[in-house]
C-alpha cells in the first residue's frame, strides 16, 4: 500500500478522474518551484471510479475559480480543505454554467490570447462557448 503523509494545513483534491491528476497538479501551480510538500498519487483503486488520482498540497487553499477549473477536468472531484490536520470543509466540484476570468480559449486567433481582457465562457450542452471568438470547445480544452 502506497502511503502519503497527512497534511496539516492545505488542500486534498480527491476523486480526480484517473489520468487528470497531473493536469490538476500543474493547474494549481505546484508542478515546479513550489516550496511546501505536495503529492500527486495516480491510479489509486476507487470503489466509485475504478481508478482515481489524488492531489495533496500543503499550505495552499483552492479558490472558487480553481475549483471550477478542476470541475472542467474532472467533474465529481472532491475538495477537502485541511486545517490542523482535520477536514475543515469538504465539497464536490461542479461544472459551472458560466466561467468568468478563468479558463483559456484554445483558439490561438481569439482576442483573449492577444489583448488583456476578462475571459468568459458559457456552457452550451456539454461544451463551452467563448464569449469573444464564439468558438464552441470541450471543457478540458479550457484548462
Amino acid at each position: 500500500m502506497l502511503k502519503v503523509d497527512v497534511i496539516e494545513n492545505g488542500t486534498v483534491v480527491d476523486h480526480i478522474k484517473a489520468g487528470s491528476g497531473l493536469k490538476v497538479f500543474v493547474m494549481l501551480g505546484v508542478a515546479g518551484g513550489y516550496s511546501e510538500r505536495a503529492a500527486l498519487v495516480m491510479n489509486v483503486p476507487s470503489k466509485r471510479l475504478g481508478k482515481k488520482d489524488i492531489v495533496k498540497i500543503e499550505g495552499k487553499t483552492v479558490s472558487e475559480d480553481a475549483a471550477s477549473m478542476i470541475a472542467l477536468l474532472s467533474p465529481g472531484a472532491s475538495i477537502n480543505i485541511i486545517e490542523n490536520s482535520k477536514v475543515a470543509k469538504k465539497y464536490v466540484v461542479s461544472v459551472p454554467e458560466r466561467l468568468r476570468g478563468a479558463g483559456t480559449c484554445p483558439n490561438p486567433n481569439c482576442i483573449t490570447n492577444r489583448e488583456e481582457c476578462v475571459r468568459e465562457f458559457t456552457k452550451e450542452g456539454e461544451r463551452f462557448r467563448c464569449h469573444y471568438c464564439e468558438r464552441l470547445v470541450g471543457a478540458e480544452e479550457l484548462v
Binding site: N107, N109, C110, I111, T112, R114, E115, C117, E124, G125, R127, C130, H131, Y132, C133, E134, R135, L136
Partner: protein, 296 residues
C-alpha cells in the same frame, strides 16, 4: 445598440432590419441622422463593406471619419482597445473589421457607442448575412423553404458561417457543398440543427439541380497555413456554365465577393448571376443597420 454576431439577433429583429432596408430601397423611407458621425476602423482590407457603410452613412445624412491603421498611432504601439476608446470620442457609431476573432466584441465591451462588426477573423460577418438574406428575399420572394446551396470554403469563410445560421433562423433548407477538409465546422452544424431543427445536407461535389439559390464563396487563401494547399483547392473548386445546364428555372447565384476564379467569367452575364446586384443591396441594408443601431 451593437451588432456583433448574428447569434445576438432574434428573427423578429432581422425581419425588422430587412423590412426597413426594403422601404429604404424603394424610397419609402429616408433615414435622417444629420449631425451624427460614422467611424470606420478597418484593420483588414475591404472594398464593399467599408465603402457601402460610408455610402450608407452619407445617404443617412451622416458624416464619416475613416481610421487608417497604416498611418495611425498603432505604428507607435497603441493598443487596439485604446484606439477604439479614442475613436468613440470622434463618432456616434463605429464599424470595425479586424483579423483577430472576438476583437469586435471586445471593442463593443470598451466602447459606449454602438459598435457594428464588419468581420472578425473567421468568426462572424453579420451585416453581410443581412445583405444575403435581403438578396434572397428580393430575388426569390422569400427565404423560408428555399434550398440554398452554400458552396466553397465553408470552414474559413465567416460570411458562410453567419449565413448558415441566418438561413436556419428562417427555416431554409441548407446544402453545404465544400471540398473535403473545408466543410462547415461540425459545431456550427450541430448548433443550427439543435437550435432551429433545420435540415443540412452535406456534399463534397457540386450538383445544383435541386438548388433555388447557389451561394458561392472563394477559397480563403489568406487563412490557409499552407499556400500550396490553398492553390490546389482553388483549382479544384470552380463553377462552370456547364454545371448549370440542369439547374432549376429561376436559380439565383449569389456571392459575397470578391470572386477570384471560383465562378467562370461567362456566368457573369447570365440572368441567374445576381452577385453584383447583391453587392449594391449593401447600401440600403447598411442604411437600415445604421438607422437601427442609432435608434435603439
Amino acid at each position: 445598440m451593437d451588432l456583433i454576431s448574428i447569434r445576438d439577433l432574434e428573427k423578429k429583429e432581422v425581419e425588422l432590419i430587412l423590412d426597413s432596408a426594403e422601404k429604404i430601397h424603394s424610397g419609402k423611407k429616408k433615414p435622417d441622422h444629420s449631425g451624427k458621425i460614422l467611424a470606420t476602423l478597418f484593420f483588414e482590407p475591404s472594398t464593399r463593406t467599408k465603402l457601402s457603410f460610408q455610402s450608407a452613412a452619407q445617404r443617412n445624412k451622416m458624416g464619416v471619419v475613416d481610421f487608417l491603421p497604416e498611418t495611425s498611432s498603432l505604428k507607435k504601439g497603441e493598443s487596439f482597445t485604446d484606439t477604439v476608446r479614442i475613436l468613440e470620442g470622434y463618432a456616434d457609431v463605429l464599424v470595425v473589421r479586424h483579423p483577430v476573432e472576438g476583437s469586435v466584441r471586445l471593442a463593443a465591451d470598451v466602447c459606449e457607442r454602438p459598435v457594428i462588426n464588419g468581420g472578425d477573423g473567421a468568426n462572424q460577418h453579420p451585416t453581410q448575412t443581412l445583405i444575403d438574406l435581403f438578396s434572397i428575399r428580393k430575388t426569390k420572394g422569400k427565404i423560408e423553404g428555399m434550398n440554398v446551396h452554400l458552396v466553397g470554403d465553408l470552414k474559413h469563410a465567416r460570411a458562410m458561417r453567419s449565413l448558415a445560421y441566418g438561413l436556419a433562423m428562417f427555416n431554409a433548407k441548407i446544402t453545404a457543398v465544400s471540398p473535403k477538409g473545408l466543410e462547415l465546422p461540425k459545431a456550427d452544424v450541430d448548433e443550427i440543427k439543435a437550435k432551429f431543427g433545420c435540415s443540412i445536407a452535406v456534399r463534397d461535389t457540386l450538383d445544383p439541380r435541386d438548388a433555388d439559390v447557389l451561394y458561392v464563396c472563394r477559397i480563403q487563401e489568406e487563412r490557409f497555413a499552407d499556400p500550396m494547399e490553398a492553390k490546389r483547392m482553388k483549382e479544384k473548386f470552380m463553377i462552370r456554365k456547364d454545371d448549370l445546364k440542369n439547374a432549376k428555372h429561376g436559380l439565383v447565384i449569389l456571392h459575397p465577393l470578391p470572386k477570384i476564379n471560383e465562378i467562370e467569367s461567362s456566368i457573369d452575364s447570365m440572368p441567374q448571376a445576381k452577385y453584383f446586384e447583391q453587392a449594391h443591396y449593401g447600401v440600403p441594408v447598411r442604411q437600415a443597420i445604421l438607422d437601427w443601431a442609432l435608434s435603439k
